[in-house]
């Protein structure tokens, strides 16, 4: 009896009845230290960022978040336009990347012939392996000019009555930045979605098919609800990437300031402003303000992460209620 419990129980201190082995103790200590160190690091990092930003927090208060200003000469700083840039680029990127990722994942797990699945899947995952600075360079040299010469004039011609698609085409701006972010998110979310769809129990989908459901009905009725919480988590992982990406965005967003209705206009995100201005800040207040931006980014990421976990949990609960 004891042996069977030992076999089933996870290795570690719970395996009662066995003498504690030195290896186990060390292993326990190491794993516990690793997780505690991570926790400690997050707390320490947040504390440090906020402590460093204190000068700017005292000078500008919460008004920093709602004011548009980044003037190192007059020592006046604000974050609203960067928050706007971060939100808009991330939102557009998710808007495009989510359906695209789900479609890719469904194609590769449910629809594509078997011999295509492997190579195409690998190729999409290879996209994730491209360093962001290389993607940014491609954005500068190839993609940005293409957006300015073809995509933006096209959008303006057909959708120009909507203010966001009305403006002077520019190779650096919100739209190219959002599209480069999309490219960075798709491989992550699509490979997670693929994993999720491949885990849908075949009895469920076969059952649905046996009941006379079409392939689309099976996907809509079985695969998507089953993978739901996972998809939300995958999308939010992509959102985290979109919020935090600095290098590739810096290269294609055009370091603009102010809030422009047009998506073609140059703008800036929190992460990109931090990356481009931290080195060479001319005053203490500017450094503090850059760290204030970092603190805002930290808080936004934290909020979205908590929101993500809540959504996932609620999804799982409702699924539990159904089955």
């Amino acid at each position: 009896m004891t042996t069977t419990t030992h076999d089933q129980a996870p290795p570690g201190l719970e395996s009662r009845g066995l003498p504690w082995r030195v290896g186990d103790v060390i292993f326990y200590g190491l794993t516990a230290a690793a997780s505690l160190a991570t926790l400690g690091l997050v707390v320490w990092l947040s504390y440090k960022v906020i402590a460093q930003a204190w000068g700017a927090i005292q000078t500008f208060g919460l008004g920093f978040v709602t004011s548009i200003a980044w003037d190192p000469v007059k020592q006046n700083f604000g974050a609203l336009d960067f928050i706007y840039g971060t939100a808009v680029t991330a939102f557009i990127a998710l808007l495009i990347a989510t359906p695209l990722s789900i479609a890719i994942a469904l194609f590769l797990t449910e629809l594509a012939p078997r011999w295509i699945r492997g190579p195409v899947g690998t190729l999409i995952e290879l996209l994730a392996a491209i360093p962001s600075v290389v993607l940014g360079l491609w954005g500068i040299l190839v993609f940005g000019p293409w957006v300015a010469a073809h995509l933006e004039p096209f959008l303006e011609r057909w959708l120009g009555f909507i203010p966001i698609f009305n403006g002077d085409p520019s190779q650096a701006g919100l739209l190219p930045a959002a599209l480069v972010l999309t490219l960075m998110i798709v491989p992550i979310t699509s490979s997670i979605c693929r994993e999720l769809f491949s885990r849908v129990p075949s009895e469920l989908s076969e059952g649905a098919l046996a009941l006379g459901a079409t392939r689309w009905e099976t996907i809509r009725g079985v695969a998507i609800p089953y993978a739901g919480p996972g998809i939300v988590a995958a999308v939010l992982l992509g959102l985290g990437r979109a919020f935090g990406e600095a290098i590739a965005v810096t290269q294609v967003i055009g370091a603009g300031s102010g809030i422009n209705a047009s998506l073609f206009a140059p703008a800036d995100t929190l992460a990109s402003r931090i990356a481009s201005q931290y080195q060479g800040a001319v005053s203490g207040l500017q450094i503090d303000s850059i760290l204030y931006l970092a603190a805002i980014l930290l808080v936004i990421s934290l909020i979205t992460n908590v929101a993500a976990q809540t959504v996932v949990r609620r999804f799982e609960r409702s699924r539990g209620a159904i089955s």
Partner: protein, 349 residues
């Protein structure tokens, strides 16, 4: 069993080692770069890099000291010398008072002299388009928006200018070239002075930002109607068209050795922290190019490599100047040299 034990012990050691090295790595790196007395490490401005890269092999031959220089931008150079991760920094913009305080005992020595050119990508426009400081300021303020606007046409009779939108391009990183360019606009345009001002990074009213000289040049070369400011050596090397800019005497001049020299001849005695501005020099210099600029080396007054630093900087401002003219770096004026000799003496062990 035993293997497992050894492995976990090794892991523990590795983890502890990783934690401790994380704490002290900054210190070990900087010590590492200083260990060899025969080398000097520097970082900073990209502007003087063409010249410094000529200096490095020549100085190695002359003295046997190996100099390493990373062109990471003026802002990066100031940060690096402030943290003392390098033996010297370089910047095109003089240090701000806050930066001087943060640097804790740094000297600033003007060690090269060149000019910032205004480049443009306008189909049909010739090299040497005539521009006044006021027009350049209005372009960057967004007041003059077309290349065929009357103000530009009047300055360039006979040149066919297209009906094309002007896209001003600026540096998104902290840049000494931005400092010199905005310094020039501040000194020539009251509107610019009140609305924007002078700085390594400012609040640009309009246009597109890009990183580094190569970044802004890239945007300009791919955008018809775009314009920007880069050091003239860079513009020449990349065969870009640059403007004639009107100086205080009313003459339109191209950036060149003679016009840079003329601008620098206005410099008399240098005092204080060594900050020299020669943008928009007085009317008495009709040949002067109005956006000429000094670029600085930053050295700590207390350095374990004081002897090597003194020797290298002395060599750079004397023998090193002969490499300048080919790259459009003009020789340093006498008043500047006299100041520099005094500053070099302040670098001590």
């Amino acid at each position: 069993m035993k293997k497992g034990l050894i492995l976990s012990a090794a892991l523990l050691c590795a983890a502890v080692a990783a934690m401790t090295t994380a704490g002290v790595s900054g210190a070990t790196v900087s010590e590492g770069t200083r260990a060899n007395a025969g080398t000097l490490t520097g970082a900073g401005a990209t502007f003087p890099f063409p010249l410094i890269s000529k200096w490095i092999p020549a100085y190695d031959q002359a003295s046997g000291t190996q100099v390493n220089y990373s062109p990471i931008g003026s802002g990066g150079g100031i940060a690096a010398i402030t943290a003392r991760t390098v033996d010297f920094g370089a910047s095109d913009a003089p240090l701000s008072p806050d930066q001087f305080t943060a640097c804790k005992g740094c000297v600033q020595i003007p060690w090269a002299l060149s000019a910032t050119s205004v480049i443009y990508n306008v189909p049909g426009a010739p090299q040497g388009l005539k521009l006044t400081p006021a027009i350049i300021a209005q372009m960057y303020l967004g007041f003059v928006q077309k290349w065929n606007s009357p103000g530009i046409k009047k300055l360039n009779p006979g040149v066919s200018l297209p009906d094309l939108k002007i896209t001003p391009v600026y540096r998104s990183d902290s840049s000494g070239t931005s400092y010199n360019f905005t310094d020039f606009l501040t000194k020539t345009s009251p509107t610019w002075k009140s609305k924007v001002g002078t700085g390594t990074s400012v609040s640009w009213p309009t246009g597109i930002g890009a990183r580094g000289s190569s970044g802004v040049t890239g945007v300009v070369s791919r955008t018809t109607g775009a314009m920007t400011y880069v050091d003239v050596a860079y513009a020449l090397a990349n065969k870009l068209k640059f403007a004639r800019v009107r100086n205080a005497a009313g003459k339109f001049t191209l950036p060149g050795l003679r016009s840079i020299n003329a601008a620098a001849s206005s410099v008399g005695k240098v005092t204080g922290n060594g900050e020299i501005s020669i943008v928009n020099p007085a009317k008495s210099q009709p040949l002067a190019y109005p956006i000429s600029t000094f670029t600085y080396v930053l050295a700590p007054t207390s350095s374990p490599k004081a002897v090597e630093l003194r020797k290298f900087i002395y060599w750079a401002i004397t023998s090193g100047q002969q490499f300048g003219p080919k790259l459009l770096f003009a020789p340093l004026p006498k008043g500047v040299l006299a100041f520099n000799y005094r500053q070099i003496k302040k670098i001590q062990g």
